[in-house]
């Protein structure tokens, strides 16, 4: 090493800042040899100039042009997760409260589901009972309205006509209500436009 100048590969090793057993004699040589020191300094000047080269800027519309040709597909489970996350409170106490409420609700629903599965016959019985009572209440309400409007004779006629007639009258009344609400909405819109 003392009797020759550094080889190009050895200069490269020093330029790249390599460490290790073989580099120490190279550094010692550089310290002792002005020619090799000058050689390394020149090579380092090139490397420094390269490392100072800037990145060029793209045009402002570059990202939009790229994104217009990129297919962004959000899977359903990501969308669902995001929706759930939106409902999660940010503060710790609120989150704990939400967790407790959700747990209680989940527990109640689970118990009810298990009970319904075990006692399906009882569930069907109660369902039938509830639907009968709802039907009776509906008939009473509709009957009362018809008796007020057309007299009790109309109610008797309907009872004699059965379910079909009852449905027909209910539909007719509903139509009148919808028409009245629709007309009112139309008049309201026209008034707002005028003002």
């Amino acid at each position: 090493m003392e009797h020759r100048h550094l080889l190009p590969d050895e200069i490269d090793q020093l330029l790249d800042g390599e460490a290790g057993f073989g580099v120490a004699p190279l550094i010692a040589h550089i310290e002792a040899c002005p020619a090799c020191r000058a050689e390394l300094a020149e090579a380092r000047q090139v490397v420094n100039a390269l490392e100072r080269l800037p990145h060029f800027a793209v045009s402002p519309t570059f990202a939009d042009k790229v994104m217009s040709q990129v297919q962004v597909f959000e899977p359903w489970h990501v969308t669902a997760l995001d929706t759930v996350k939106q409902w999660v409170p940010t503060s710790k106490p609120a989150r704990a409260l939400a967790l407790a409420t959700t747990s209680v609700l989940a527990l109640v629903i689970s118990v009810l589901t298990v009970w319904m599965a075990v006692r399906l016959d009882a569930f069907l019985f109660f369902f039938e009972l509830a639907s009968q009572r709802a039907r009776a209440a509906l008939f009473d309400a509709v009957g009362g309205a018809i008796a007020n409007a057309f007299g009790s004779a109309a109610v008797d006629a309907l009872r004699a006509g059965g379910m079909t007639a009852a449905l027909g009258v209910t539909g007719f009344l509903a139509l009148i209500v919808v028409a009245a609400v629709g007309l009112r909405a139309l008049v309201g819109t026209a008034r707002r436009r005028r003002t």
Binding site: D12, A49, F62
Partner: protein, 202 residues
Amino acid sequence: MAPSLDLANLPDADVVTLAQQGREAAFRELLRRYERPVFSLIFRMVRDREISEDLAQDTFIKVLNHIDKYRPEFKLSSWLFKIANNVAIDHLRKRQLDTVSIDGSPHASSAAEIEATSFDLAARQESALDEMEARELGNAIERAIARLRPEYRSCIMLRHVEGRSYEEIAATLDLPLGTVKTYIHRARHELREALEDVKGHG
């Protein structure tokens, strides 16, 4: 709507995961991080701003449309630079310009062709290279890089502008490690000679 995420502070791998989940903000973050390095690499290979932007766009469209195929054991930047280098080399091959020299293509057979393929700094007042005018050495090295062979150019840019290791460059460019070392050594040597010429004339 996705919840707000501080994408700028996430590592590449996490941003890629979010992009794989279809979040547009993650795609845009990757673009923001790499649009300049990728464009600069291509621009220094191709030396034409408009074409370089088109090629950089192609690079990102290829990568972002296949983000689901990204393997996390590799650096995203290496994948991007690999595609960028490939599109630039393909373009140069199509144009049959092994070297885009300020003195014109080596394949030019007439004075008109030499003029058409020459790299005229004065005529590119609006080009990105104007940024270099103020710095003599920077300008000289840009001109010297333009004279290098394309394979030397990509190696030296990745090594010294992007700060990649020899191993990363070898993996990015699909070249043997020894070849990468040789290319970088030769590129440094040629650049040194070019700069010495500049100093000699100055």
